[in-house]
Each structure stands twice: as structure tokens, then as C-alpha cells.
């Protein structure tokens, strides 16, 4: 499993990192691996606001459909439109070309309170040990 050192992580397997005064988010390498080949990504409208933990979109693979949760509260400023034609970018480059949303966080400091890469790796290995 790959992690991006510059990102913070949620227990629901989203990554988020600050770029200037905006944040970028997507799903982790572990999440894409669990879902297997992704065939469809549903993304929100620009300008929509979501609270922390609210569902902003859906990813669908041949195995399952799964909700995407907002890592922290914020207002959507851009979505990765290229995923409509090439959803496989989430599989091949989850932290780069497979990004899903850019948003203006309500409180950028909240991002710092999420798991860092090392804690997320530890969290995932605890899941693998369980069922």
C-alpha cells in the first residue's frame, strides 16, 4: 500500500492535503485496492457545501459502490472532470491524477487534526489483522 506523506487521512480512507488556501481530496491507495477496478465516479456540483463526514460523492467498482465522505467541512471549488471518461486514474494514481475534489475548508486547522501517513498505515494494518 502506498501513502502520500504530504496528506492527512480519515478512518473512511480519504486523503486530504492543503494546497495554498484550498484543499484537495480523494480516496487512498488502500481504498482503491479494496474496491478493485473503478468504473464510475459521481462528484458534487461546484459551490456545494458539505460538513465534515458528509457524503459528497460515490465511487463504483465492479465489486461494490462506496460513498465518499468529506474529510473536513468545506465548499467545493473544483472536481476532477477527467474521471468521467477515465475513472481508472483512481486505481493507477490515487494521490495524483485520481484526485476527486478541491474545496475551500471552513477551518484549515481541522486538517491537521486528522491522521498523518504513519498513523494511517498503522490504522490499516490493524484492519487487516481483524476481519
Amino acid at each position: 500500500m502506498k501513502v502520500d506523506r504530504a496528506s492527512r487521512y480519515t478512518r473512511t480512507h480519504e486523503w486530504v492535503r492543503l494546497e495554498g488556501d484550498e484543499a484537495v481530496s480523494g480516496i487512498t491507495d488502500y481504498a482503491q485496492e479494496q474496491l478493485s477496478d473503478i468504473v464510475y465516479v459521481e462528484l458534487p456540483a461546484i459551490g456545494e457545501h458539505f460538513g465534515k463526514g458528509e457524503v459528497y460523492g460515490v465511487v463504483e467498482s465492479v465489486k461494490a459502490a462506496s460513498d465518499n465522505y468529506m474529510p473536513v467541512g468545506g465548499t467545493i471549488t473544483a472536481v476532477n472532470e477527467s474521471l468521467a471518461d477515465e475513472p481508472q486514474q483512481v486505481n493507477t494514481d490515487p494521490y495524483g491524477a485520481g484526485w476527486m475534489i478541491r474545496f475551500r475548508p471552513d477551518d484549515p486547522a481541522e486538517i491537521e487534526q486528522l491522521m498523518d501517513a504513519a498513523s494511517y498505515e498503522e490504522y490499516v494494518s490493524s484492519l487487516e489483522g481483524a476481519h
Binding site: E60, K63, H131
Partner: protein, 497 residues
């Protein structure tokens, strides 16, 4: 593909039927309604037409061809007597708009079926309207919402659903315009009580719970779950999809549920899996009866027809059966009266088995599942290792065959002539293989399944490519599911000339 598309068999000018010359003047259609080109329809002779569809029908796999342990789907054998009954002209040739007086037999059958389902479930009232399981869920959620609104409680919009639920539960909730709150399962596969407590408040309409759940486990805290939900003013919705484990043993109403749907097409043995039709009646407590979707069938004593003396017991000829809309009904959910043909089959099944037979069906379903679980856990990981109900969930992965996934095992099983189990559901088990043998399978069939699964595990270690490329014996080999989803080709087009 072993069989060409009928369009590929087509040759211009061939025809399987010849219509006589019309002896009435052609209708004068407005020109904008007349198509400019003839539609692209296949042109084949009668014999080619018949052979094409007979060959296709022989490529089918169904309960009548072999073992079908598709977890959560209850693919039990459907007795042929059910088909005989529903084809009786008195049932098959009635029209839904016939006057009630001329269809008293049909109405009595529906009334009796309502009564049997009440007896089996313990609920006070049943509506046969919904056309399938998820439709029954939708009805149940609207009933729960109507109950709160009727009390003047307008602040509730949330439905609690465990992460082991059927996917239809959150879908039905969303369809009803309500909000889903997902609850965790604990390490024994029960609802996590702490997570439940943390999410219970006056915004909760109720909870949807499948019991036994999708792991095939009876929730060990069920009474406590119901007590907590009721304590917060919420209602308990029971997903009756897994009723096949409980008939004649436990009544869902007595377990604390307020509403539940039945899957007649699963539990009560009517054909399904090829598109239905299904039937998903909904049962409710006394308090909720007036919200049921209608019409339901009621009966009243027919003073004119009844010749009973004061001490006689009334028989069926003393009653008049009629359709009635419950007082505060959520409304009609289906044209006419639900899927009547399915009701006749389910009624026949119940009458053929009787109370003791239904109980034995459930007991045997549970016994068969436990037999398979006990033998297969020697071969594949069993994440929740305790006695199961009518189904269980294995992990389709092997420590010493790292490249093998549940999908490979399932595809290889087809080479052994069996239908694969449900894959990748429930989501809380890695590489899930969900296995439901049902009560209608013999020990020999169950043993043959164990043998096949054991040999596949050996092949996974010694010849993994055999699994990766499976199936080998089916009309088509491994399908590219990813490409089919990403680049669907939904329509045949003639090759360019």
C-alpha cells in the same frame, strides 16, 4: 459465443409467418407518426427461430439444473405443484377489473394468505400490495414516516442501518427522501450497541435490521436493540429477506419488530432470480395497521348467504370478501392488487407444507448451512466462527495462494457445474463468499459442493492459472467485467457494408 445473435442469423426476405392480405382499409396516420424507414428487425425462418431460442434456453442455469448456493437469495427448489395451482383457469383467466362478486375465490385466497403471513410473523395486519422485497421496504419506511407525522412529530428524518445490511435498505431509505445513518457491527457480527446508543435521538424514525443478518447470524442483542430504539421513540423495521431461517420457530413481531416485509418469491418458493416477478407483502403491528398500503382484503359476514344456526361455526361460504383501503393508508403502491400469480404459488406452498412443514423447512435450511459451514471452515477462513442460521460467509482467499481471490474461486466452481455463491457481499468480510444451500438440497449435493470447493483450494495452490482463466467449460469464458462497465455496448449494429 456458441450462439449467434438473432440479428446475425437474419437474411433479407426470410420470414417465419405470412399474414393474409388486410381486408380493411389501412388507417390514415398523421404523416409525422409514420416512420420513414422500416425498423431493423431480424428476418429468419420459423425453424431457425425455434432452434435459436431452444438453444438459448439450454444455455440457462437455474435451480432446476443444479445447485445454486447464492447467499441472501434463498434459491430453494420451487415445487411444480405451485405452477399447476396458479395456472388453474379460475386464477389465471380472471381480470383485475371483474366485479368482486365474481372473484370471491381469488379474494378469499388473498385474505387467507394475509392470515397465514400474520400467523407466521406474529404481526396484526398484512398488505399484499408491494411487488418485490425492496418495494416492501419502501412501503415499510413510508409507514414508519406516516406514523411519526400522524403523531405530529415532524422532526424525524433518519434511519439507522447496520453495515451488514442488504444494499436495498439504504437505497429504499434514500428513495423515501430520508437520511441513512450507518451503524458498525461488533466483533461477533452483532449490531454495535455503543454505536447504536451514540446515534439514537429524536431525529431517528427507526432502524432497519435484518435478522438473521447478512452474515447468517442471529443478533445476540436483538431485544436490547429493540428496547433502545423504542426508548428513543423510533420504530423497528425488519428486513424479512432472511425469514427462511425462522418460520415456525420465532415470530418477528415477538422479537420486537414493528414492520417487516416478506419475500414470497424467496421464502415461499416462487421462481425468481431471472427477473421475477416478486412479491413483497408488508406486515405491521396493530398500531400501524391503518397506514398499510391498500387495497387489502377484508371479509364480512354475509347475512344472506349464511344459514348457520346460533351454535354453528361459520364456514367460508358465510363470508363476503372485499377490497378495502386502510383508514390512514400511505396509498396504493402497485396497479391493481400486487402480483397475484406469485400469491397463488406462495399460498400453495404454505398449504402443502402446513405449520409443521414450514418449521421443518427452516430447521433443515439451518442444518444444511451449518453442515456446510462446519466442513468448509476446514478449507477456507471463516471470519465469524459461531453457529450460523440459514447461510454463512467465508473468505475467498487462502494464505498459501496469494494471487487467488473470491472471484477466481467462484468462476472455477462453474466448471464443476455449480452456481457460484454470492461474491463480495456483505462488504464487512474481505473477499466474501456468501453461501446459502437452502433446505431442499440432499446431503449428497452438499458433499459434492464441499468436494468441489476443496479441490478448487488445492488447484489454487498447485495450478493457480486454472482459476485465473476459469470458467473453461461454459459457453463463454471469463468476461471482462471492467471493460463491460466502462465501455458498455448496449446495441447491436449491422456491420458496415
Amino acid at each position: 459465443m456458441t450462439e449467434k445473435l438473432i440479428y446475425e442469423l437474419s437474411r433479407p426476405g426470410r420470414c417465419a409467418c405470412f399474414l393474409p392480405k388486410t381486408d380493411v382499409p389501412p388507417a390514415d396516420l398523421p404523416s409525422e407518426w409514420v416512420r420513414e424507414e422500416a425498423p431493423l428487425l431480424p428476418e429468419v425462418s420459423e425453424v431457425d427461430l425455434v432452434r435459436h431460442y431452444v438453444r438459448l434456453s439450454q444455455l440457462n442455469y437455474g435451480v432446476d439444473t443444479g445447485f445454486y448456493p447464492l447467499g441472501s437469495c434463498t434459491m430453494k427448489y420451487n415445487p411444480k405443484v405451485n405452477e399447476e395451482a396458479c395456472r388453474l383457469p379460475g386464477f389465471a383467466q380472471t381480470h383485475p377489473l371483474q366485479p368482486e362478486d365474481t372473484v370471491q375465490g381469488n379474494l378469499k385466497l388473498m385474505y387467507d394468505l394475509q392470515c397465514y403471513l400474520r400467523e407466521i410473523s406474529g404481526f396484526a395486519a398484512v398488505s399484499l400490495q408491494p411487488a418485490a422485497g425492496a418495494h416492501g421496504e419502501f412501503a415499510g419506511i413510508l409507514i414508519m414516516r406516516a406514523y411519526h407525522l400522524d403523531r405530529g412529530d415532524t422532526g424525524r428524518s433518519r434511519i439507522l442501518i447496520p453495515d451488514s445490511a442488504h444494499g436495498t435498505n439504504p437505497a429504499s431509505t434514500t428513495m423515501s427522501g430520508l437520511e441513512v445513518v450507518q451503524l458498525r457491527s461488533d466483533s461477533r457480527g452483532n449490531v454495535d450497541l455503543d454505536d447504536l446508543r451514540a446515534n439514537l435521538d429524536d431525529r431517528v424514525i427507526g432502524m432497519m435490521l435484518t435478522n438473521p443478518n447478512t452474515l447468517g447470524l442471529f443478533d445476540e442483542h436483538l431485544e436490547e436493540v429493540a428496547r433502545l430504539v423504542h426508548g428513543a421513540g423510533g420504530l423497528m423495521y425488519g428486513d424479512g429477506a432472511n425469514l427462511n431461517a425462522l418460520m415456525g420457530i420465532a415470530k418477528p413481531a415477538a422479537l420486537g419488530f414493528d414492520v417487516m416485509h416478506f419475500n414470497l418469491h424467496k421464502t415461499f418458493s416462487t421462481p425468481h432470480g431471472g427477473g421475477g416477478p416478486g412479491s413483497g407483502p408488508v406486515g405491521v403491528t396493530e398500531e400501524l395497521a391503518r397506514f398499510l398500503p391498500g387495497p387489502v382484503v377484508i371479509r364480512t359476514l354475509d347475512e344472506e348467504a349464511c344459514t348457520c344456526g346460533p351454535d354453528d361455526e361459520h364456514d367460508e361460504f358465510c363470508y363476503r370478501y372485499e377490497l378495502s383501503q386502510p383508514g390512514s393508508s400511505i396509498g396504493r403502491l402497485k396497479a391493481f392488487y400486487g402480483n397475484f400469480g406469485v400469491m397463488v404459488r406462495a399460498y400453495t406452498y404454505i398449504r402443502m407444507l402446513g405449520g409443521a412443514g414450514l418449521r421443518q423447512a427452516s430447521e433443515d435450511a439451518v442444518l444444511n448451512a451449518n453442515y456446510l459451514q462446519a466442513r468448509l471452515k476446514q478449507v477456507y477462513p471463516l471470519p465469524y466462527d459461531r453457529p450460523c442460521m440459514h447461510e454463512f460467509v467465508l473468505e475467498g482467499r487462502l494464505a498459501d495462494a496469494p494471487g487467488i481471490r473470491a472471484l477466481d474461486i467462484s468462476k472455477r466452481l462453474m466448471d464443476y457445474g455449480m452456481h457460484p455463491p454470492t461474491n463480495y457481499f456483505p462488504l464487512i468480510v474481505h473477499e466474501a463468499l456468501m453461501i446459502e444451500p437452502t433446505e431442499t438440497e440432499s446431503k449428497e449435493t452438499l458433499d459434492a459442493f464441499v468436494d468441489a470447493m476443496t479441490r478448487i483450494a488445492e488447484e489454487a495452490r498447485t495450478q493457480p492459472e486454472l482459476l485465473h482463466d476459469a470458467p473453461h467449460t461454459t459457453p463463454v469464458g471469463r468476461l471482462d467485467e471492467v471493460r463491460a462497465a466502462r465501455e458498455p455496448r448496449l446495441r447491436w449494429k449491422p456491420p458496415a457494408p
